[in-house]
Symmetry: C2
Subunit: 117 residues, 2 copies
DNA sequence: CAGTATCCAAAGGGATACTG
DNA sequence: CAGTATCCCTTTGGATACTG
């Protein structure tokens, strides 16, 4: 496809932005983890472990840590016996809500189209 | 968080839908590849190789094949000398446009917030 | 140009056991 | 409950060379 020069620059910037997003959301499980927390607002470690089908505690722990570092998720240790830990989205994490919803909708349509074909 | 039973079912369905999406869009490069094709409408192999920073021809080939299998991308061999191959989104692939745009916007905001902090 | 083939290192990730 | 530690196999993916 032919493009005018100024358009090409715009495309490159957008490509970079997409890759920035994906750097944060990479990994097999991250989006699913965020979805779990997003849908329930607040969610404990063991609950997320159940929500995200197939994930191991090792992976959940690792990916949650990365999400925390990227300031998408907030971790709170609750004063219970035994200890429980609650995860919730930060204000910044909440801005992913649109994307989560889009992915949810798209997943449903895709299932209809491909799997239910 | 406490939830009423019927809400829990809804959440589970949504979680499954998100995972369906991610099954198709998994891999380090898939979203970026789709973005490249999406922004330029039609794009040749070597162009995508340039657009997606860091990808190798081996990976590009592999991921394009998977996208083709999932009916998101259409591959056309052009009758040129030497051969060129053009990729474009299928009608189904085009339904990802919203998600791509959202990821682009989010990436820009995220850069401002985290990297530009 | 658009791939494929091969080799090989690094990362991913499951299973299990253990700890505060 | 919420992790951490270890073992070890699998997958990913880069570099390079080759083909129609």
């Amino acid at each position: 496809m032919q493009c005018e020069p100024h358009l090409i620059d715009k495309h490159k910037k957008k490509m970079m932005a997409v890759q920035d997003s994906m750097d944060v959301l990479n990994g097999k499980w991250k989006i699913s983890i965020i979805s779990s927390i997003c849908y329930y607002n607040k969610r404990r470690f063991s609950d997320i472990l159940n929500d995200v089908e197939g994930i191991s505690n090792k992976m959940l722990s690792k990916e949650l840590k990365e999400l925390e570092i990227n300031q998408l998720v907030k971790r709170t240790v609750l004063n219970t016996q035994p200890v429980t830990v609650q995860y919730e989205l930060t204000e910044h994490g909440l801005t992913l809500k649109t994307i989560i919803n889009n992915l949810t909708d798209w997943g449903m349509e895709h299932r209809k189209k491909i799997i239910g074909e």
